[in-house]
């Protein structure tokens, strides 16, 4: 199968997921609401000292993205298994990695919506100036959410058939994405502070490396999950 054909399949899978998600609007808006609520509650937990909050903002932002992201990637697989569609998907005579990449792409899309909401909200709630920092911030959000979608999609596939999936998905994902969380938070705070130590590029590279490794591993192994 050519690269172009696989890319078309991945896009088709992603479009299908996006369509299913958008037509059942309640799920995506409740995930977004949950994420916003997490940011708000962090403010209560750590406030009201504004300087303190602004300093902690990158970490809080990424924790909110991670928590809400877990819900988002779990849903993308949940939708499939609720009516046995995952078996259908597995039966298509296409490369399994294309299916994985499609689902990861859909997860990435959902994560981007999440980021687009949470970053301005962080600026608003924690009094952080976003305008000066936007190129680094956008890069950090893009790379960080991509890596999260890659790992989250993979583990959602692992846990989707388990009875205890609500607990197992975070349990498996959180230790694996620890380096991603660390690098994303560092990159975000470097971007927000004007990168005084010149470390932004290094953290973005680490994020990119994480993304590439996890996408390759996910694409290589996801097929074995569908065979079950």
């Amino acid at each position: 199968m050519t690269v172009g054909a696989q890319a078309r399949i991945a896009l088709a899978v992603a479009r299908k997921d996006a369509m299913a998600e958008l037509r059942g609007r309640s799920a995506i808006s409740s995930t977004l609401f949950f994420a916003a609520l997490v940011l708000l509650l962090f403010g209560f937990a750590l406030g009201p000292d504004a300087a303190h909050l602004a300093q902690a903002a990158p970490g809080l932002l990424w924790l909110a993205i991670v928590f809400a992201g877990l819900l988002a990637v779990a849903r993308l697989h949940q939708l499939e298994t609720d009516d046995g569609a995952l078996e259908q998907l597995a039966l298509y005579p296409v490369a399994r990695r294309a299916i994985y990449l499609g689902k990861a792409l859909a997860g990435f899309g959902a994560m981007l919506v999440l980021g687009a909401l949470l970053v301005p909200l962080m600026g608003l709630l924690y009094a952080v100036d976003l305008l000066a920092a936007w190129p680094g911030l956008v890069a950090a959000v893009l790379l960080g959410t991509l890596g999260f979608a890659a790992v989250g999609t993979f583990y959602a596939g692992v846990t989707v058939r388990l009875r205890a999936r609500e607990v197992m998905l975070p349990l498996l994902v959180l230790p694996v994405i620890a380096p991603l969380l660390l690098a994303a938070v560092k990159a975000t705070s470097a971007a927000l502070s004007g990168d005084p130590f010149g470390e932004l590029g290094a953290w973005l590279q680490l994020l990119a490396a994480f993304d590439i490794v996890m996408l390759i591993v996910g694409a290589g192994t996801y097929g074995f999950l569908l065979e079950e």
Partner: protein
């Protein structure tokens, strides 16, 4: 019988090496007796990495050959690895308390990496426990073990960087003792501990492997028995019920 001999050898060598490390070798000048923790800490950490490497390789073996022996080895190594990881973490914290003045040191990449390692493989073991079907369990575990193994270097690297880009905290790391400048008795003691722990690891691996094999066969026997019982129950009712379709089907 041979395995029992291996077990006895492991026990004796670990005991001898421990007595040597505790009472014979002199204490470190700077750290005092706390430094002796290193003699179990470093072998534990080594066995943790050896175990998780084995789990990853055995997982690849399962995916490749679909031979259940690979899965037994993966399970055995993961469980033993978790035990030694916890042991290494505990030893590190015990050592950190007198030497660093705190049991938990965020600036030290090893302790944070080890904590994540423990979380990664506890998740692996939990996942195994939650999957009833043996073949599915083996496949899921194999790929999760593989991802965890790929993640370990990234975790270590990122945590190292996390500290390195900000402050240069140089503590006397436990494995600095392995450098050539360390006194010879210290090095020999550590090597003896490494060797004896590795023998003990081999013994534990074999025993856990045998146990996993027995568990698998037990599961298979139980499944066959319940299947046979279900068949016996199913034979008579199907003959009498055959003409009338279930109500739900008719309504459709």
């Amino acid at each position: 019988m041979k395995i029992r001999i291996l077990g006895i050898v492991a026990l004796l060598t670990v005991a001898a090496a421990t007595i040597n490390a505790l009472f014979v070798v002199p204490a470190d000048l700077n750290q005092g007796d706390a430094q002796r923790i290193m003699y179990v800490h470093v072998p534990s950490a080594w066995l943790a990495y050896l175990s998780f490497g084995t789990t990853a390789l055995a997982g690849i073996g399962w995916i490749w050959k679909r031979d259940r022996r690979f899965d037994h080895a993966a399970l055995a190594a993961a469980e033993i690895g978790v035990m030694f990881t916890a042991f290494a973490l505990w030893g590190g914290m015990m050592w950190g308390q007198p030497v660093w003045g705190t049991a938990w040191q965020w600036g030290d990449p090893r302790i944070t990496t080890t904590a994540l390692l423990l979380a990664l493989y506890l998740g692996y073991l939990l996942l195994r426990r939650l999957t009833a079907d043996p073949e599915r369990r083996a496949t899921r575990a194999a790929i999760v073990g593989l991802v965890a193994a790929v993640d370990i270097p990234i975790v270590h690297f990122s945590v190292e960087w996390w500290r390195g880009l900000h402050q240069t905290a140089t503590f006397l790391a436990p494995d600095k003792v392995l450098n050539p400048a360390a006194p010879l008795p210290f090095v020999l003691t550590l090597l003896a501990m490494l060797g004896s722990f590795t023998i003990a690891w081999a013994y534990l691996m074999i025993r856990r492997y045998q146990l996993a094999d027995a568990e698998w066969r037990g599961e298979e026997a139980a499944r066959d028995a319940s299947l046979a019982a279900a068949r016996r129950r199913a034979v008579r009712p199907t003959i009498s019920d055959a003409p009338s379709a279930p109500a739900g089907e008719v309504a459709r």
